[in-house]
């Protein structure tokens, strides 16, 4: 693979007087990847994205976009990225197409190419019917989409989207999500940040959880859940009189970390594989424990997040 990594962060640190906003963060993304950047407010997501967008210089470490150093050659990087800030302004007195035309011109897109390009991004963002409307009159969701359309007028390889779905109603959120999926199919590398997890879970190819400037974990979602939740939780419902027996059987078994009573059910933290799980069930039945129900609690990104950031979040 000769193509350079689209995004390559190496040991990025950004310090303000006393505060360390980003601490020794490394990240590598190839074409077609969507990276979900998750973390509570103030964790360092925006700072990291701004460093990639050439708006901030890192205190130490190097960052590359498409193989180009962001500090040494910001102009070349700027031509390759589309950046959508978390808070942004639009020119209210513009019409939608004029707004896009202005940015296309600013990106030095030749005048002849602009109308076609504007139609294309409007189509992509579902704003074609608003082409001649004033920006002022658009809803928040539409403005957000317009801003996204704006980040694409120069056909960048990398999109940096800082909280693109914040403040939107569920419907608008889904629209943004679909749009991002479409962009992924176009081969763009996208970093999208959010403090809300489910928003990202189903279309990101990988996610990273950042907390107090440190990237706690990152990787594909499945492996994250497997690796980091540690134990899965088995929910076993048994009659009250069998509870003591069940606990006695379960506790010494391999892979069982903890058994907790919760009303009628036992929550068993378990880090064994499927075979071990079978053995566990068999052991219970052999011990004549009457089982009402047996199941695995669905763990998701949210659980990973809560697990990892427990106690850290102020």
């Amino acid at each position: 693979m000769n193509e350079p990594l689209r995004i390559d962060l190496r040991n990025i640190t950004k310090r303000y007087d006393k505060l360390t906003a980003v601490d020794n963060l490394s990240l590598a993304l190839g074409p077609g990847e969507i990276f979900g950047f998750i973390g509570p407010n103030g964790a360092g997501k925006t700072t990291t994205i701004k460093i990639l967008a050439t708006l901030l210089e890192p205190t130490s470490g190097t960052a590359f976009v498409d193989g180009i150093n962001v500090v040494e050659n910001p102009d070349a990087v700027r031509a390759r990225i589309g950046y959508m800030p978390d808070t942004f302004g639009v020119y209210d007195e513009f019409k939608v197409w004029e707004y896009l035309d202005f940015f296309a011109a600013a990106y030095k897109v030749p005048k002849g190419d602009r109308p076609g390009l504007i139609d294309l991004v409007l189509d992509l963002t579902n704003l074609s019917n608003k082409k001649d409307a004033y920006v002022e009159g658009l809803s928040r969701g539409m403005k957000q989409r317009l801003c996204l359309a704006r980040t694409m007028v120069h056909n960048p390889k990398v999109l940096l989207l800082d909280e693109p779905a914040s403040g939107l109603d569920p419907r608008a959120r889904i629209e943004i999500r679909d749009l991002l999926k479409e962009l992924r199919n176009l081969g763009k590398t996208i970093i999208v940040s959010s403090h809300i997890l489910p928003e990202l879970a189903d279309f990101c190819t990988s996610v990273g959880i950042i907390e107090k400037g440190k990237l706690l974990v990152s990787g594909p979602i499945d492996s994250l859940i497997g690796d980091n939740i540690g134990a899965r939780v088995l929910e076993i419902k048994v009659p009250a009189e069998d509870k003591a027996m069940a606990s006695k059987v379960l506790t010494p078994l391999k892979g069982v970390r903890n058994v907790a009573e919760r009303g009628e059910v036992l929550d068993v933290q378990f880090d064994g594989g499927i075979d071990a799980q079978n053995d566990l069930l068999l052991a219970l039945i052999t011990a004549k424990v009457r089982i009402v129900s047996f199941g695995e609690v669905q763990t998701d990104l949210e659980a990973v997040f809560m697990n990892l950031t427990r106690g850290l979040v102020a």
């Binding site: 700027r78 800030p85 942004f88 302004g89 020119y91 007195e93 011109a105 600013a106």
Partner: protein
């Protein structure tokens, strides 16, 4: 990037003329003029006086034009001061900068849009001005020339406004700063315009330099010539060049602040400022009447050079007293402001003298102003003495305070101490030296017409050295 292709310009024009606001402004602009002109005609009965009609026309033209000048001076800072700070407040600045548009593109684009808007206003009010053609006495070329001068001046106010807009954190502050700046420049530039204003009322031709940098002098400027190096230049040309220089400086200052005050653009700005300063000082050195040329240098060229230099916002790292000179040479520490100003004033004055002397023999000046070699001598000694005194005061001030307080402290103490010391000492000196001793010590650098005494210099130098010694000793 060529200006007509500038997307910022296109955007500004597109949105500025959208809706009723621009046209309401034009209407108000013309209305004010019509009312004032109408009022004048009715009340003064201008046309019924026994003045020759041509002269009435000239007076009429001057009043119309001054009215335009007043309106443009009032409108321009207001139009420009919001331009950049608004982008910042709307959070659109980052996105524009990320498109690869350079800060200079943004500033120039915005300034050009304002220029076009003012041309539009002026064109819209032409019918009012055209009254002049009914009385006669004014050539169309004169009117055109005056408008050109007005545009240059408008660009000066506009660039000041846009520089304030780049520096200020809020709209209100930007507007206030822009108006204060514009008023100061208006007043400072009106001094050299006085002879040209006199011409409007049929006064005699006088020696003047930069007489139309304030368009107050524009109605008379068409007939005016200024002599440099024995050559006559049209006044409007010189003034246009000077105003273009100032506009360039403030435009650079604005784009410097827009790019986040980087070292590189600070260096560029200082070089351009210094280059213009040298150029204009040298030009004034070729003036026949040096004392009038000095006024321009002092009230005008040097202050603007200083604003451009200190306005870069790039401070050298806080250095120990030992490297004071290094800081002074870098010319960017506000603490060294006063001393730097003295150095710049001295350089300007010496430069003017130098050029003057060099060309004195070669060119026959028309007015034969006497040449005083002693003046140069005095100037050099005074400059040196002042430099010593101020270095000492600077060292002493920085011994006790640092950072922001040093700036304030030095500004106050730096100005006041030598005067205070000399004032106290003057009580013990012979009475003829005691009068305004401190004042003279401060001003001998500039004003060679006041004859300084050796005792002044000694006292000033000793005071400065004493301050320096105390600063070292307190360490």
């Amino acid at each position: 990037m060529t200006i007509p292709m500038n997307p910022i310009l296109e955007k500004e024009i597109r949105t500025r003329l959208r809706g009723a606001r621009a046209f309401q402004l034009l209407f108000a602009y013309v209305l004010v003029q019509v009312l004032i002109m109408g009022g004048l005609i009715v009340m003064r009965g201008l046309t019924s006086s026994d003045m020759p009609l041509g002269q009435v026309g000239q007076l009429f033209w001057a009043i119309t034009f001054w009215m335009q000048l007043g309106l443009v001076t009032l409108i321009t800072p207001g139009l420009t001061s919001g331009l950049l700070v608004a982008e910042r407040e709307q959070q659109t600045l980052d996105t524009i900068l990320l498109t690869g548009l350079k800060p200079a593109d943004i500033v120039v684009g915005k300034l050009c849009s304002i220029a076009m808007f003012i041309v539009w206003l002026l064109a819209g009010s032409l019918p009012v001005t055209a009254i002049v053609f009914m009385t006669g006495g004014v050539a169309p070329a004169e009117i055109l020339l005056a408008y050109v001068l007005l545009m240059f001046a408008a660009m000066v106010y506009g660039s000041i406004g846009i520089a304030c807009s780049a520096v200020a954190k809020s709209q209100g502050k930007a507007t206030l700063l822009a108006y204060v700046g514009a008023i100061i420049v208006f007043i400072a530039t009106s001094i050299p315009a006085v002879p040209a204003i006199g011409m409007v009322y049929g006064g005699d031709s006088q020696v003047a330099y930069f007489s139309a940098i304030n368009p107050l002098g524009a109605p008379g400027a068409a007939k005016f010539t200024e002599q440099y190096f024995g050559i006559s230049f049209p006044a409007w040309l010189i003034s246009s060049v000077v105003n273009a220089c100032i506009t360039t400086l403030f435009t650079l200052l604005a784009s410097h602040h827009l790019s986040g005050c980087q070292q590189r653009s600070a260096v560029l700005l200082r070089r351009v400022a210094f280059g213009m300063f040298v150029l204009l000082s040298a030009l004034l050195g070729g003036a026949a009447k040096l004392s009038i040329g000095f006024i321009q240098l002092f009230v005008f060229i040097v202050p603007i050079t200083l604003v451009a230099t200190f306005g870069t916002g790039v401070r050298s790292a806080v250095a120990p007293q030992g490297s004071l000179w290094k800081r002074l040479l870098s010319g960017n520490d506000v603490v060294s402001g006063r001393l730097f100003a003295v150095v710049i004033y001295s350089i300007g004055a010496v430069l003017m003298y130098g050029v003057h002397i060099a060309f004195r023999e070669a060119i026959s000046y028309s007015d034969g102003h006497p040449f005083e070699p002693r003046a140069l001598q005095q100037l050099l000694i005074s400059g040196f003495v002042n430099a010593v005194a101020l270095t000492g005061v600077a060292a002493l001030t920085m011994r006790f305070v640092s950072g922001r307080w040093a700036t304030l402290g030095f500004t106050i103490i730096g100005w006041a101490t030598p005067m205070f010391i000399l004032g106290v000492l003057s009580a013990f000196l012979p009475s003829d030296t005691s009068t305004a001793l401190g004042f003279i010590a401060q001003t001998t650098v500039f004003d060679y017409s006041i004859e300084p005494r050796t005792s002044h210099w000694i006292v000033t130098a000793v005071a400065g050295v004493a301050c320096g010694i105390v600063a070292k000793w307190k360490r």
